[in-house]
């Protein structure tokens, strides 16, 4: 499985769980949970694909984690900035975990998945 694909799947999966965890920290969002999960999943998928593409070209565990963290942070910020439609923005609740999830996907895509375009190591 290629790194971008792996990142896509992992990011999506983690995004689902991340979205569902909103039920624990903010039960009041229960009516919107489907939208939250979809949004979180999309965020995870995009993060995973981007980080996976980076991992194809760049073989460095620390940098992979860093890029994952930053991309996760930015996307999470966008989502948080949208708010819940009622004027509530859950910046910390979304951005912090989102960045860490990005870091996890960054780590995973560095360690696993086929690089594909890289020349084989001697």
């Amino acid at each position: 499985m290629s790194k971008p694909l792996f990142g896509l799947l992992l990011g999506g999966l983690l995004g689902i769980f991340d979205g569902l965890s909103a039920l624990l920290s903010a039960p009041e969002v229960k009516p919107e949970i489907v939208g939250i999960v979809i949004g979180s999943t999309i965020k995870g998928v995009i993060t995973g694909v981007l980080v996976g593409l980076i991992a194809r070209k760049l073989r460095s565990l620390p940098l992979g984690i860093l890029f994952g963290l930053l991309i996760g942070l930015v996307l999470a910020y966008i989502v948080a900035a949208l708010g819940d439609g009622k004027g509530h923005h859950y910046y910390w609740e979304i951005m912090l975990p989102g960045s860490l999830l990005g870091a996890i996907v960054g780590y995973a895509t560095q360690r696993y998945g086929r690089a594909g375009n890289q020349t084989a190591r001697a």
């Binding site: 624990l24 912090l96 975990p97 996890i104 780590y107 995973a108 360690r111």
Partner: protein
């Protein structure tokens, strides 16, 4: 001038007749080392116009049989062709009966110096693995080293690892008589120190264990438990308890490097978990961090 005596006559004839090995072809330049087995000179091979190392053994060939044994052993040693083994180029006898052999002149850091250096442990272990490979190769061809020690290993500028003096111990024995105790205290296997004649590969395994111990505890730090256990197993008093081959020893070292379990150190459950956790420490830290963060957020939301 008083005439040449009968005894001197025969000696002189022999001296003039001797195919002039050491003198003509190899010009001794200077002494570069001295050990229990003999003296090493830097010499110049006049025929091939290159520098070589010429080691004169401290034995003395007193019989024709000794000379033939020496040649036979030298042929075996010269047959070892491996990038990690210093090749033997030539063998001969000085006019005074001392055998010598000629090998490639190897420069580079000695392994005992490297053991004391701040080189990372992983790099030192990589060197050690190459020594094991060379040793395993020689064992497969029936050649024991019998004097493996850090002083006999060189690491060149390009990272090449070379083991010196393979088969020399046998040359010494061939030159003198069986039962000659050859080896270095601290690295010699107990059966070797006792002068037993039926030595096998495990004598070298013992020495490899001693080398591993020196490498993993050099530089001041104490050896990691797994490496200490590997070294202990290799240096077991009874050879039945040691690794059976250089390859199995190397295999355990490789396992250590890959954070896999080593056969020398049986693990209980807790230790196994600890090892797995250590191996995946980054992932665990990230996931743990995420979960912790979620808990914090949850807690903050509740309050």
């Amino acid at each position: 001038m008083s005439g040449i005596s009968d005894g001197a006559l025969e000696h002189l004839r022999a001296a003039l007749s001797a195919t002039p090995e050491a003198g003509v072809r190899y010009e001794l330049v200077r002494e570069i080392g001295r050990g229990g087995m003999g003296v090493v000179y830097l010499a110049r091979d006049r025929e091939l116009e290159r520098e070589v190392a010429l080691k004169v053994l401290a034995a003395s060939l007193s019989t024709k049989e000794a000379g033939e044994r020496l040649r036979r052993e030298a042929r075996i040693a010269a047959g070892l062709e491996h990038p990690g083994i210093v090749p033997v180029h030539d063998v001969g006898v000085l006019p005074d009966g001392r055998p010598f052999y000629v090998m490639k002149h190897v420069t580079g850091a000695r392994l005992d110096e490297i053991a004391r250096s701040p080189m990372p442990l992983r790099a030192k272990l990589d060197v050690f693995l190459r020594v094991c490979e060379a040793t395993g190769y020689a064992h497969a061809r029936g050649v024991l080293h019998r004097d493996l020690k850090p002083e006999n290993v060189r690491v060149g500028g390009f990272g090449e690892v070379l083991v010196l003096d393979f088969g020399v111990a046998k040359l010494m024995e061939a030159a003198e008589r069986a039962g000659t105790v050859v080896g270095t205290p601290g690295f010699m296997a107990p059966e070797q120190a006792r002068g037993e004649s039926d030595l096998d590969a495990r004598a070298d395994i013992h020495a490899l264990g001693a080398i591993l111990r020196e490498l993993s505890s050099g530089g001041g730090q104490s050896a990691p438990r797994a490496l200490a256990a590997i070294a202990r197993k290799a240096m077991a008093q009874s050879r039945e308890e040691r690794y059976a081959s250089a390859e199995s020893l190397a295999s355990d070292v490789r396992a250590y490097l890959a954070d896999d379990p080593v056969s020398a150190l049986p693990e209980n459950f807790a230790r196994r978990m600890a090892r797995i956790a250590y191996r995946h420490r980054v992932a665990l830290a990230l996931v743990g961090g995420y979960l912790l963060l979620r808990l914090v957020v949850l807690f903050a939301a509740k309050t």
